[in-house]
Symmetry: C2
Subunit: 455 residues, 2 copies
Amino acid sequence: MSEMAYEFDEILEQIHHTLKTDDKQQFKEIFLENHTYDQAQIYLSLSEEQRQLVYQYLSPEDMAPVFEIIEEDVEDVEEYLREMDERYAARMLAEMYADNAVDILQQVQEDEVRKYLRMMPHKTSNEIRNLLNYEDDTAGAMMTTEIIAIHESQTVGSAMTTVKKMAEEAETIYYVYVVDEENRLKGVLTLKDLIVHKEDVKISEIMVDRVVSVEVQEAQDAVAKMIRDYDFLAIPVVDEEEKLIGIITVDDAIDVIDEEATSDYSGLAGVDVDEQSVNPFIAASKRLPWLISLLFLGLTTAALLSRYEGIIGQASVLSIFITLITGTAGNAGTQSLAVAVRKIGLNEDESVFVKTILSEVATGIISGIATGLIIFVVVGLWQANWILGGIIGVSMFFAITVATIAGSLIPLLIDSMGFDPSFASGLFITTVSDLTSVFVYFTIASMFLEKFLGI
Amino acid sequence: MSEMAYEFDEILEQIHHTLKTDDKQQFKEIFLENHTYDQAQIYLSLSEEQRQLVYQYLSPEDMAPVFEIIEEDVEDVEEYLREMDERYAARMLAEMYADNAVDILQQVQEDEVRKYLRMMPHKTSNEIRNLLNYEDDTAGAMMTTEIIAIHESQTVGSAMTTVKKMAEEAETIYYVYVVDEENRLKGVLTLKDLIVHKEDVKISEIMVDRVVSVEVQEAQDAVAKMIRDYDFLAIPVVDEEEKLIGIITVDDAIDVIDEEATSDYSGLAGVDVDEQSVNPFIAASKRLPWLISLLFLGLTTAALLSRYEGIIGQASVLSIFITLITGTAGNAGTQSLAVAVRKIGLNEDESVFVKTILSEVATGIISGIATGLIIFVVVGLWQANWILGGIIGVSMFFAITVATIAGSLIPLLIDSMGFDPSFASGLFITTVSDLTSVFVYFTIASMFLEKFLGI
């Protein structure tokens, strides 16, 4: 790795030099020799002035692969497009695989999109327009339409001819799909099947007719999960009539898995964990909105606590255990929430939700009893006061049970409101469990206060 | 999806029926028609008695693909192996791709491993023995040794012959690697390159000679990240002398990405988030160890608080703000920790660590100032007491600054001790930030106590 990093720095230096000396030939040679991922890294390291030179040196066809990489995670894509000549940008977008062009166009203003589409070949703009219509986060929005489809009456030899002809255009040539006259998906073969069989073998003899496919409306995380489970390199996408309309490749599945995992983690931590900046002002400005929201939500707990100030004044020992109860209940709630977020992410079935909640109620009660008993004994011994131990133990039991149930309900509620269940999940569970814990604790404490003070 | 689920239930029923009627022929037909992922799901749904029949019906060669799927996430693999005839198990393991056989053997006791290896063909057992020697979580432990390697002096036609010959054995035939006489990696081509070029073209003319590869000692998450970034289907693995020794395929990269993301998330939440069970006793038994650890760590905060009971007795209003300060500092610490965990996961470079910590110190101070000022004003107005506001504000500032720094240091410390930086991270940050927050708060409060009580 360190060797590679060194080499890359050297390449960057050479690139900058060719730009400075306006040496187009040398630039093209060095730049195009790199893998597209590295080309993208080079491109991203340039200033606008330097990028303008690159647009002169490289054709839209050369730039297209660079933007296939960039679409995945760069926020400035719109700016890049705008600084290009319009026709250059349109040609580059047309050269890209339709799914990646769509990913980029989704970040661009609508009138700009229309402008680019008008400048493209009719067939391409139609393909892209269709894909743009699919709902975000569905198979339709993930798929590309450049696929290799053959008929079952073809032979291996004629299929190979089709594959060779489509090789430049298709995003993957390693799966070949078999369709009938009405374009309905009938079978699948791998390129491996084609090369190991004789030329005159009929496709119908060697194809696999149990094809795993996804419907165009399928959620993107379910699609990614299928590709992962089946170890596929790609999965075909069909419409309601089983007609083959697209393909989703494994690289897009990885991006979705990564994205979902990051958003779950970010939701729990209350921060965009992929924040790239080391500038502390930018980092703080991204974290503060969450932190201040949590602060104000925390004030509700403080306000509730202030109602019990009188009790605390009479028995200040009670204050010692506030953080213990809110903290432990918060942890139990976070556990249950994290499990629920993953379950929702992996499953769409409503019956699972009901089962999950019932199971969490029971889990909460069991955890509550265990934890409550332990703290009853510990506090009883420590403070040599079994009534205080009882108050803390019973409060802990109720607080944990409520927090555990809340932990599984919150992501379900957020999900049913149409948001990502991980969204702000850490924020809600902390607030809810703090409030209920404080309420439970002081309600129980005040019930036993006289007895407690009497000792 | 629902249609598929329906179909799958039907297949399961048929399978159970063929087992009941001891209909070997029918069983084989139905079972082998399925995709290997579904075969694995069928196998996992069977009782031990039924599995014993399956071992009679299916050859070790038939079972091998099923276990390629199962290795990824099933804990009972050792049990399955033990219930098989030893020779059957050894033959099945020998039939598997070496990397997957290794994954399974890592879950098996050493003397059992030796027994299986003795029953395998010499070449296979040697391959597996070599792989078993690589450190866990490195490229070496992820890779498989079944690769297609050719020489640059070969032609496209002769390369195709090699590919066809190796097609059954190699895990992927879509990348073909070019090596010199000493097996040093020189270039790469895709199967696509081979099929679009004429038979007599020299490999050296069409191969890409800038090959992206990983060293055998490379960490598995760095490897997975490279496959993801470059959109590779596989990446070659080389030893210190640049000799080609293996290949890592994209399906294994997905598993690593998934696994890392899950372990980060689990570490923050203090629970194995992939817990499958809906049995609340099992769920509770898995969560309680964490919860009780957190409880005892929380007791340290309670013990610290008990030292300040006297102060609270004099000014019970102070107790209202304990959870607000510990909670907000805990959130700031969690944000900083989550960012640090991801940065460590993605990067191996030490200079990044130093930069990260310096940046977190500054971010903590900025966040602390902003949050402290807000709470100063809010508490000052709410309690009509600006000294109290000042105490809370200054405490908040220090508590957040310390927690933010601790949040970036904790995963670094865990990492430098050789553990996964996400391990128990949520547990440590909560405890550390609670303790420091309480200490800071009451130290400052006691400094101003006389002034405060004097009002």
